[in-house]
């Protein structure tokens, strides 16, 4: 059976007035299994967000393919969107809707049957502890509550694939830990999760497999154990630097 997410030769070229053609993502290949957290680890500007935006159908690939639950993100964009939930720091909530209205809207628009929408919203309110704030406008909520509503709206239609683009950026330690706990819970529910970060400890703690992305290319992709074995380095930070230096032509020999 095919994996929930399969990415092959995914490429994105932007045109920049100053730099001309820029290859933001250059022939990326990977897949993500059900019940797995697949981490995309890279520095700022490495191509993580562009890759995830292509999978989420926000951007169109210049070349290559990405399949979400078997749906091509270009040819069957709508079906692909229906099969995934996309969360990122740049996908904010509609500030003038209440938490409940937000959940109902996302459930309905992403394919939950109209008759089931109120019950689904209620389930989400209960699961994420939004009870006291369900009828409060989003712009009146605290950062922590907004984050909960945001996660709840990502899974409002119970998608089999979840994409988290640097979800802990801007969060304090407690909220970041809460976010990691929730993502781990989704893995236990059997969802295929793609998770991008530049924080090594997060990737170490959460990811089943890690892809190291640098300048738009994946330079290594395996479990943490296998990456340790392949590089002879224990800490993910050292492993990351090793591959980045290799990619930069520096030999990767830093002890």
């Amino acid at each position: 059976m095919s994996q929930p997410v399969v990415v092959q030769g995914l490429t994105k070229i932007f045109f920049d007035d100053a730099r001309g053609e820029v290859r933001a993502v250059d022939g990326v290949d990977f897949f993500c299994r059900a019940g797995e957290i697949f981490g995309l680890l890279g520095a700022n500007g490495a191509g993580k967000t562009t890759t995830l935006r292509m999978i989420a159908t926000v951007l169109a690939p210049t070349a290559g393919t990405a399949l979400v639950m078997g749906h091509d993100v270009q040819r069957e964009a709508e079906a692909a969107r229906r099969a995934l939930g996309f969360y990122s720091a740049t996908t904010a909530l509609y500030p003038r809707l209440t938490a409940r209205e937000t959940l109902e809207f996302f459930a309905r628009i992403n394919g939950v049957a109209a008759a089931r929408v109120p019950a689904r919203a209620e389930e989400l309110v209960a699961r994420f502890g939004l009870g006291d704030y369900a009828d409060t406008r989003v712009d009146k909520l605290s950062t922590g509550m907004k984050q909960k509503v945001s996660i709840a709206r990502t899974v409002a239609h119970d998608p089999p694939v979840l994409v988290f683009d640097e979800p802990t950026v801007g969060l304090d330690v407690l909220n970041a830990l809460e976010m990691q706990r929730v993502i781990a819970e989704f893995r236990r529910e059997g969802k295929a999760i793609i998770f991008s970060t530049h924080i090594m400890s997060e990737a170490e703690r959460l990811c089943d497999r890690i892809a190291i992305i640098h300048r738009g290319r994946i330079h290594a992709c395996d479990t943490l154990e296998n990456l340790r074995a392949a590089t002879g380095k224990h800490y993910l930070e050292d492993i990351f630097i090793h591959y980045v230096e290799l990619a930069n032509g520096d030999g990767g020999g830093t002890p």
């Binding site: 270009q74 996908t91 309905r108 628009i109 992403n110």
Partner: protein, 434 residues
């Protein structure tokens, strides 16, 4: 068929979300609902009340008039002036030059000179009256109007007396008399006045009604970082754009209709002081047959203005940027309104081909209970064509991914120059409207 079904299925929830969110934004509610209901009726009430007050003030003062050269034979004229309540006959200087100097300095409001008729006149004792006023002064203009009434009466009496002295009866020398009357009913007069005023406000209100929702639905989304959220909804991109467009058009149409309704209802009160002054009966009521045409006009205008504004606002990344990008289009829409003030402007066939003007003329005529169906047909066709052209332009713009995601740094002008005219690719991106 299935695609259309999916499209509509997506449009409704987004339309509802857009409209609900817009109704919770103070700026939009104020500009699209409160202003059409309150502002113009209030402004007109204030203006006409002010005018009535000024007219009352003007009526209250007494005109200071000096008469030069009035011999004993003109005693009746002086008596008439003395009996006139609003005229105060000043101790007249014998020199015209002194009186004119007093007029210029504001001590007098008018100077009447009784002069001998040129070349001796046709009948003995004939004379000429010269009334000198200072048109730059309101008091002086009022004095002239008052003097006109007195001099006209004096002239009539003088002619009658002279005719009698020559054995001619009044009926014989007054060969014909002139009287005018108005065949328009009070309701028709009201419709005429409404037709002068309402279409102009209608266009302004539709434009104001669309302005903030258009900026909010595009640039506002980018500023709030919700644009990307919307882009990941499991509906066709066309559904997102259509829903936003219809929501903006709803606010524009609503603003126009609300304004027409409220203005019609409040015109009676607003005009009451002036109408009472003129002593004419005017009834402000829009004919029932005009209602469908008004609704059609609101729909066509709102669809056009919403499309145009969203095209301009699509390039903005912040609300402020959106406002400045939409303003030129807003002014462009208001420009034809000035032509409506041209006297005697008729809803001709050529005019029916001019966008905005045609809808405005159609509305104006409908309010006056006049319907030129060929012109209305052309107006509908032209408006639909213009809206279709705007939507086509919108789809062309949305094919550029960097515009859709908000990374394009420029306005519509920059876009046309660098992308359409220069023929550069789609910003390294594929189709945006999937």
């Amino acid at each position: 068929m299935r695609t259309v079904g999916r499209l509509l299925e997506g449009v409704w929830p987004i339309y509802r979300r857009e409209t609900r969110a817009a109704l919770r934004e103070r700026t939009i509610v104020v500009n699209s609902i409160v202003i059409p209901i309150v502002l113009y009726p209030f402004l007109f009430w204030a203006m006409f009340t002010g005018m009535a007050f000024v007219m009352g003030q003007t009526e209250g003062f007494v005109s200071r008039v000096a008469v030069i050269g009035a011999g004993p034979q003109h005693r009746p004229f002086l008596t008439m002036l003395e009996r006139s309540e609003k005229v105060e006959l000043q101790k007249h200087p014998s020199e015209a030059a002194t009186a004119l100097a007093a007029l210029r300095s504001g001590e007098l409001d008018a100077v009447v000179e009784i002069l001998p008729a040129a070349e001796g006149g046709a009948v003995p004792g004939e004379f000429a009256l010269r009334v000198t006023v200072d048109e730059a002064k309101e008091r002086s203009r009022t004095a002239r109007e008052r003097l006109d009434r007195v001099t006209e009466r004096y002239r009539g009496e003088w002619l009658a007396r002279e005719a009698r002295a020559r054995g001619v009866g009044a009926a014989e020398w007054q060969g014909f008399s002139i009287r005018s009357r108005n065949v328009s009913s009070a309701r028709e007069m009201g419709q005429f006045l409404l037709g002068l005023l309402l279409p102009m406000l209608f266009v302004i209100m539709v434009a104001v009604g669309c302005f903030y929702p258009a900026v909010d639905a595009t640039a506002g989304e980018r500023e709030r970082n919700t644009w990307e959220t919307t882009m990941t909804l499991a509906v066709p991109r066309l559904a997102v754009v259509t829903a936003k467009y219809l929501s903006v058009a709803t606010f524009g149409g609503l603003a126009g209709i609300l304004n027409v309704g409220v203005m019609t209802a409040s015109m009676g009160m607003i005009f009451a002081p002036l109408v009472a002054e003129a002593g004419e009966g005017v009834e402000f009521r829009i004919p029932l047959a005009a209602v469908p045409v008004l609704l059609l006009g609101a729909l066509l205008l709102a669809l056009f203005v919403a499309a145009g504004m969203m095209i301009f606002a699509a390039f903005a990344r912040t609300f402020k940027e959106g406002q400045s990008m939409v303003t030129p289009f807003y002014l462009l829409v208001l420009l034809p309104v000035m032509f409506l003030q041209v006297p005697g402007l008729e809803f001709s066939l050529p005019l029916a081909f001019v966008p905005v003007v045609n809808v405005t003329m159609m509305v104006r005529e409908a309010i006056s209970n006049t319907f030129h169906w060929p012109q209305i047909g052309i107006t509908v066709a032209v408006s639909v064509g213009v809206v279709a052209a705007c939507l086509w332009v919108a789809t062309r713009i949305l094919a550029f991914e960097d515009v859709v995601v908000g990374s394009f740094g420029g306005s519509l002008g920059t876009f046309v120059k660098t992308r359409l005219l220069a023929g550069r690719g789609r910003g390294g991106a594929g189709e945006g409207s999937r």
